[in-house]
């Protein structure tokens, strides 16, 4: 036993294990205390979009998959508006971008009122997708688009041509996230 205690490698491994165990325990407790629930994250997003806290009605919190484009994660109704959380596929390294899309019904047309970034995976040049990228979608009447089965073209012609140089994959994922919402509107409205 004494021989083992004096062994330098035994000492090295024990001290590292001790530090890892104590750190792990401390972080487990703090993680439990400071956990941010999905509901809290939704409330935060709503506060950002509306500049104040609003009551919301859940339309669906089940994922609706649109194979090549993306998926709808959640849909809420807030004062007659529709708020979507959608994820766009085909980003850099096949990563994804998740955004909030606020759709407002004005007369007979659906308009994109706000697009807000929620999170992303595997994207490395997200700083290139600033507010100006998301603003391009806003105040767009998407009624004709979803009725005709059209969508925003990430790197082609039209209103979204060459949206972000140097981060075209990420821009594609961001655009796909918005297109997913248009696809849902086309099927359900």
């Amino acid at each position: 036993m004494n021989k083992l205690k004096n062994n330098i490698w035994f000492k090295c491994i024990s001290i590292l294990l001790c530090i890892a165990l104590i750190s792990g325990g401390l972080l487990a407790i703090l993680n439990d205390l400071l956990y941010v629930s999905p509901e809290e994250r939704t409330s935060r997003a709503i506060s950002k979009i509306y500049n104040e806290q609003k009551e919301y009605k859940v339309i669906t919190e089940e994922e609706i998959e649109y194979n090549s484009v993306g998926k709808i994660n959640k849909i809420y109704e807030i004062e007659g508006d529709l708020l979507f959380q959608s994820t766009g596929y085909n980003g850099y390294k096949n990563g994804t971008i998740t955004v909030w899309v606020k759709i407002v019904l004005e007369k007979d047309s659906y308009n994109i009122d706000k697009v807000l970034l929620e999170s992303y995976e595997k994207q490395t040049l997200m700083s290139k997708l600033g507010d100006s990228f998301y603003n391009k979608f806003e105040i767009t009447d998407v009624t004709e688009k979803y009725k005709n089965g059209e969508s925003f073209t990430p790197n082609g012609s039209g209103e979204m041509s060459n949206p972000v140089s140097g981060a075209t994959y990420s821009a594609t994922a961001g655009t796909n996230a918005v297109n997913t919402v248009i696809k849902w509107l086309g099927e359900n409205k």
């Binding site: 090295c12 001290i15 590292l16 530090i19 750190s23 703090l30």
Partner: protein, 216 residues
Amino acid sequence: MNNEYKKIAVDGLITSNPTFKLVLGTCPTLALTTMAMNGIGMGLAVTFVLICSNLIISLLRNAIPNQVRIPAFVLIIATFVTIVRLVLDKLLPSLYESLGLYLPLIVVNCIILARAESFASKNTPLKSVCDGLFTGLGFTIALTLMGAVREILGSGSIFGLKLWNFSIAFFASSAGAFFTFAIFIALFSIISEQVEKKRKIAKYNLFDAQKKTEVI
């Protein structure tokens, strides 16, 4: 005893300022200083990690074998960085979002590893805490100054408050960050050179006066 702590404070804030004198932690300095608030947030996060990691490393300095000191330091630093992340995500989500990727990268911030390796692992806990505090404050002040200048010139605002409509976009860009950094390093070098000169003159005068008294 008092002089030692004074030296630690002056070293951390001025003579060994991590940003403008040692040019450490350059990555967050350049990337996050588009706004003064980001500078304060990042600086305070690093200060907290520096103080806590310096304290623990100093307490364990005799228990950690030399062979595994770096993995042990990284484990301790990573724990405190995770705590900062959890706290910011819960209490200051907007700051958490604006610091983004640079918050977890504090783990590999060379200022923290350098202080752990060169100071905390060789000194008493109290001295190590002082060193962490003043080095962190030096970093915070540097980032805030750079953030303030870039925000005023690049966005025409300070701490998010609009001052005027005039702005020079160059200062908000990456090139502007390098330019501002260079200007600050130059200014800092001139000031510290002047301070050092004055110190030397004062020392020489004192030495001269002592010599004269001895002769008399």
